[in-house]
Amino acid sequence: MSTPYYIPETDVPLPPKGADVITTACDYCIVACGYKVYRWPVAGGRNGGPKAGDNAFKADFPVDPLGPWVAPNQHNIVLHDGKPHHVVIIPDKDTKFVNTDGDSSLRGGCIAQKCYNPQTPTRDRLKSPMMRIYGILQPVPWDFALDVAAEVGNYVRSAHGANAFGVKTFSYQYIENTYAITKYALRHVNTANFTFHDTPSDVSSTPGFRDAGFDNFGPAYEDWMNAETLLVCGTDPYETKTILWTQWIMKGIQNGQKCIMMNPRRTAGVAYAEKNGGLWLDINLGTDLLVVNAIARIIAENGWQDAEWIKDWVNNKWGSSSGFGQGTRNTPWQWRTTWGKFQTKGYEDWKKWLLSQDEFKPENAAKIAGIDVQKIRTAAEWMAKPNNGKRPKTSIMIEKGFYWSNNTGNTQAISALAIIVGAGGRPGQVVGRAGGHQRGGQRGGKYPRNKSPMKVPGRRRRALDTDTWTMSGHTRFAHVIGTTWIQSMCGSQQLAKRFEELTVANPHQVRSYDKQDIIDTLKKRADSGGMVVVNQDIYLVDPIGNRYADIIFPAATWGEDTFMRANGERRLRLYNKFYDAPGEAKPDWWIIAELAKRMGFDGFDWKNSNDVAEESARFSRGSRKDFNMIKVAAHREGKTLHQKLGEFGTNGIQGPVYMEDDGTLVGTKRLHDTTRKLPETGPAAGNVFNKKLTHFNSQTGRCNLQKSPWSLFSDYWEWMTPKGNELWCTSGRTNERWQSGFDDRRRPYVVQRWPDNYVEMHPDDAAARGIENGDMLMVYSDRVPSLKETTLGVEGSDYSFSGQMKAGNVELTRAAVTGVAMVTRHIKKGIIFMDFLHTSQPANSLEGRIVDWISGNYNYKMGVAKVKKIGESPYKNTFRSMSFAPRDII
């Protein structure tokens, strides 16, 4: 458990005048700050000087605050065209949007350290395809690996059916790659055994938003700043999308915005909001719905709702019902309303329901949520009480702490609250997700829902739950792309056990030098009920790649090919290639194309990433990041799509993109913009005016005001509630670390800051267990609930936690994860918090592997655990690593 101590540099080379300047955006969080790469050859030793005339920044050193300073962590040496080059990568000081002021987080700020350099801890990048032969992953040529994967994959499809062929993939790692992957998996393999990195089945993350008619990413960043009251649920944007906070929300607060943060942790953003007149709703886990509805109840009782907005923009009985008959009869919206639990006839009907629920009385909600009831009243006043006849401009932001606690219930409740305060379709009055990763998804095929054998009450099919399906042994070939499948899912340790049984514990292991023999062995594995695993990633991931994969495809990534992607306000940018991918690593689109061609699929003859982007463009039409008209404009001007988007530099352009008659491209500041005037002549030529530009995503274009019954979730919540000496156990991101730490584990400074997973706990909870800062803890549970099979049931009432318990479909399993104690005032008593995805200490092991009955998502943020000290960490009494100081110092 030794820590590689970070030895800081005390000087840094400056880029010389004339260095190449290449624009890109950060690879990490949803915000996607604009960056500039300064690149110059190592040969010749021509570094820049400190005078403005002698460096690429045209700045005198020492530079001013906010100036183009280069920290040593922002420099690296890479190969470009086979020759060593310096690169300095700093936030773009000239960008007009997103990271205005040239701001950056630590994560993106040190992105130069991401680049492959064999002299740094990035030296273990995957550089060659590999195959497990005699138990060891050994380098093999691309042709060899691809031929085996293609033949075994095709065999599994024909012998065991398309649903035996599983594809689990990132949803966001660039438009070109996600298009290629979904074209292969959905259009050609056509498997229902498909899902993305963050969910067991391919479903909406925010079912309530979908039902109400809200896009997840409708708002513009300026709306979050311009709101007069902002309710932020289940995230501290400072911790997780830092620049959205420092450049937008924080400026709003400085201008007098009242910021309400609903979150059991008081991290720096929460503390800043409170210090500047805001409010902290320090609720217990999973009680969001009660507090949200209590706020709504106060608003309704006092008549503070935005009556005019409701009159114009909320569906009545007939509008609510008009969803029937849309498309297939399998739309999630339809079966939810058929269930009769959500649908209303409009505001009065909804209000009648709301007022009839005792648990939404402020006193009752406050008691279960564990907060001061006055806070609920204050929040309601700030959000909706007119002042001298003028309504406050109110916006609502949600993220995973909220929508992954009670997925359907919370998102239904918050949608209703948004609607009645008039949030959703006007400047400064918006509702949306804050976002996690960037938005790089572009579908190249449609999910074959009708091939899924899983159903909800009645005859309606649900997207296949790939975890349950795999646990049941139905997945015979798993293609896992750029995701930490196992630790990223709930009940991780049970999943790992099953993977082990299906792969390395299967008798059919490759022990041969002969290609056909290898293929035959893997076919026998599949036939015997085992599973063949192909893992495609930039590093060898433990255990999915390291222990279970038979074939490894090494992927190229950010900076190693040219890609497109959008951020949390739908801003599309070009991410330029600026250095050579390591070894034989190839971009995902190339790997998919080579595999697909070998499997006999047509339409994969792309020569470069621009070819893929141009093919995908027409499929983006009508979507929130519709970029088709950029391609049209590019071709008019004799350019490629990538060239044309690149002209927008770090400023980019917000989708959906519309083209004026003269060829000018116009972005879309916000979706559902009821104040926007589109040309009366309608969309000309290739332009598409989707309803979402000026209306909501419902059948009528108006919002559906829906009920959000606590009773659909309360049995699970009550069962989960800590018993005896258990504590609530939840998880999330921390500012200094991104995702699984795939890059951060290779950055000595971040490793020094966060060497191990940590366990934040309140001083009272720590004292009761004899725990001090720096103690090494065992966090464990013997009642992690897991579904044995897919949801079993006939009647609607079977589809509940109690129903599944009664049916004997819930198994209680054990889990254990270690972590370093961090005793801190910034977390609510009774709750512990861990990093959500440390691959070696996965907090998700402790979260119930029970899907939301309605949506099919996990409620990742709702677990319980016991905690005991097992010794002391090396950080307890030394000073180099970690810090036990609280995160609320303002």
């Binding site: 800081p8 540099e9 005390t10 000087d11 840094v12 080379p13 400056l14 005048k17 004339g18 260095a19 190449d20 300047v21 290449i22 624009t23 030793g45 021509r46 820049g48 000087g49 400190p50 005078k51 002698d54 005198d60 050193f61 020492p62 530079v63 001013d64 605050p65 906010l66 100036g67 300073w69 280069v70 920290a71 205005t100 040239g102 701001d103 630590l106 700020g109 040190c110 400072y238 830092t242 420092t246 450049q247 400085q254 720096a268 800043y272 290639k577 060239q643 690149g646 002209e647 500012n735 200094e736 400074y749 800051r753 000073f879 180099r880 970690m882 810090s883 100081a885 609280p886 110092i889």
Partner: protein, 195 residues
């Protein structure tokens, strides 16, 4: 790619010579400006033009000077005192503090006396006046809220900085405290000793 701006190489820039290096002059007005800027930070920062940074060229130093910065007996727990190091140029302002609790790199009988540069290693916010006795920390930075743990070599507690706060290495001779080096690059500079 055509979308990459590639400027042609124009001759060979000279390797910097030490005689040319401006380490800048201490900018007290800027520091006070930053600290008091508060709400208007975002707008005032961009308009701040300190050509003065390069106005005065101090003597070039090639190794860290050994500089007496205070007396141990004069320090009071949790009362930081300011000094300048390694020169009197821009961003040399630093703080010496007796934490009252053992700290990494601490000197004195309790190993609790430490010194740090005062400028945030994110974007140069001035941290003077932000010492917190209860958490033994500096910050939150007035610009973007970064905080630093002074008991742990200035490691970032929470926030955006690209590295720890530069720690000034100390030596004790009798009752005299000497600064003898800096651990980590000081904001704004490309080389601690050359500006």
């Amino acid at each position: 790619m055509s979308n990459q701006t590639r400027m042609p190489e124009t001759g060979a820039p000279q390797m910097p010579s030490k005689a040319d290096h401006p380490a800048g002059k201490c900018l007290m007005s800027r520091r006070k400006f930053l600290l008091s800027s508060g709400i208007a930070t975002s707008t005032v920062m961009v308009s701040m033009n300190t050509g003065a940074a390069a106005a005065k060229i101090p003597a070039t130093i090639s190794t860290y000077p050994r500089k007496k910065i205070g007396k141990l007996s004069a320090l009071k727990t949790d009362k930081p005192v300011s000094f300048e190091y390694p020169d009197e140029g821009a961003y040399a302002q630093s703080m010496l503090v007796k934490l009252g609790t053992e700290a990494g790199g601490g000197i004195g009988q309790q190993k609790d006396v430490v010194a740090f540069n005062y400028f945030c290693t994110h974007q140069g916010g001035d941290l003077s006046g932000t010492y917190k006795a209860d958490t033994k920390s500096l910050g939150a930075c007035p610009l973007h809220l970064s905080t630093y743990d002074l008991t742990r070599h200035g490691i970032l507690i929470s926030g955006q900085a690209y590295q720890s706060l530069p720690q000034v290495l100390l030596e004790l001779q009798g009752d005299d405290i000497y600064a003898v080096g800096v651990f980590g690059l000081i904001f704004g500079r490309y080389d601690n000793l050359q500006g």
